[in-house]
């Protein structure tokens, strides 16, 4: 007997195409599935206010001496020294880009990514 010629729907039904494969796609991406050239802005909960103790000492001295500067010269000098030191620390820290914390700050990451963007199309 020759090979029986079944209609097309029979072969398709037998193969199980209707059951598994012919389904609407489970994923319909609204944007292209590619990495963007920026990261989200992350607020660094890094530093607290510096020189608070010196400032409070100076203010206590002010309160005692009716806000005259001459009796409080020593405390004012200490406050200025602390401020200068904190400023230098901040300048030095800015250059290292906070590698000690583990991650770069988001602004620097964005700058780097802008230099090496994701290629989405080939011309």
């Amino acid at each position: 007997m020759a090979a029986p010629a079944y209609p097309a729907w029979v072969t398709r039904w037998v193969s199980g195409q209707w059951r598994n494969k012919k389904r609407p796609p489970t994923l319909r991406p609204t944007r292209t599935l590619a990495l963007a050239d920026r990261v989200a802005n992350r607020r660094e909960q890094s530093t607290e206010a510096t020189c608070i103790t010196e400032m409070s000492v100076m203010m206590a001295c002010w309160k005692q001496n009716d806000f005259n500067d001459t009796p409080c010269a020593e405390e004012i000098r200490m406050f200025y020294d602390c401020v200068a030191k904190a400023e230098k620390e901040r300048k030095k820290q800015n250059e290292d880009t906070v590698l000690s914390r583990g991650n770069l700050p988001s602004s620097k990451v964005n700058k780097l990514l802008k230099r090496f963007p994701q290629i989405t199309r080939y011309v």
């Binding site: 400032m55 002010w62 005259n68 500067d69």
Partner: protein, 233 residues
């Protein structure tokens, strides 16, 4: 320390050259050096110079030099603080008027102090300061605030937070307060040198409305010291 390669530098400099070559602008090619105004640096004999100064002199022979701005002076009488104060007093670019007002102010200070000097008894004559420049600098120093307030928004509300000020900001505030005080809170027909000399002498003695303004700022900072933790620098 080898000098940077001439070829690489030349290529970079040529790439930077704008179409119009600036002569007296503030944007110069990075190769331009600053002009040297002090006469003492040119009178030093060659042997006394340190290594860096010798290298700097050799560099000046090959590099172009920026045009000197009109405010740069090699005179012994020029004072950067006085120039800055004159510029702040200037209105609509009338530097001639501002400079004459400044010199009249210094003269008025000198006259007042000399009058006090000649009227004072012998033992007090040394305590009276007659140099108007010294009085100007001391008065400005007395007027400078030590701590300032800045607006910081947190949780929808703005707070006045005490912050340390930079030197430039302190100088600017002192000068601005002095000038504003003279312009606004005096009788209409008094001339600026008279008002300014009076204010400077009061500030020199730690009295007067400008010092009071500084104290008011300090008091507000002291009252708001609880918010000092809102700073993040």
């Amino acid at each position: 320390m080898a000098a940077p390669s001439a070829a690489g530098l030349g290529r970079r400099l040529r790439a930077w050259l704008p179409r119009i070559m600036p002569v007296r602008w503030s944007r110069y090619n990075p190769s331009y050096l600053e002009p040297e105004a002090k006469k003492e640096s040119y009178q030093k004999p060659l042997e006394e110079l340190t290594e860096e100064e010798r290298e700097h002199m050799e560099l000046k022979a090959v590099r172009p030099i920026k045009a000197a701005p009109p405010s740069l002076s090699s005179s012994v009488f020029s004072d950067p603080m006085i120039s800055k104060f004159t510029n702040m007093m200037m209105k609509s670019g009338n530097k001639v008027l501002a400079r004459s007002l400044m010199s009249q102010t210094l003269e008025a200070i000198k006259r007042k102090q000399l009058e006090k000097y000649h009227k004072a008894p012998e033992n007090e004559k040394e305590t009276i300061e007659c140099n108007p420049y010294v009085i100007f600098h001391q008065a400005l120093k007395n007027c400078q605030p030590i701590i300032g307030l800045s607006n910081i928004t947190k949780g929808g509300k703005t707070y006045q937070v005490p912050i340390p000020l930079t030197d430039n900001r302190k100088r600017f505030l002192a000068m601005k307060w002095l000038i504003a005080e003279c312009r606004e809170n005096k009788h209409r027909r008094t001339l600026m040198p008279e008002k300014l000399s009076q204010e400077l002498l009061l500030a020199f003695n730690n009295e007067g409305p400008v010092i009071k303004k500084k104290h008011v700022l300090h008091k507000m900072a002291e009252a708001n010291r609880a918010y000092a933790h809102f700073r993040w620098w």
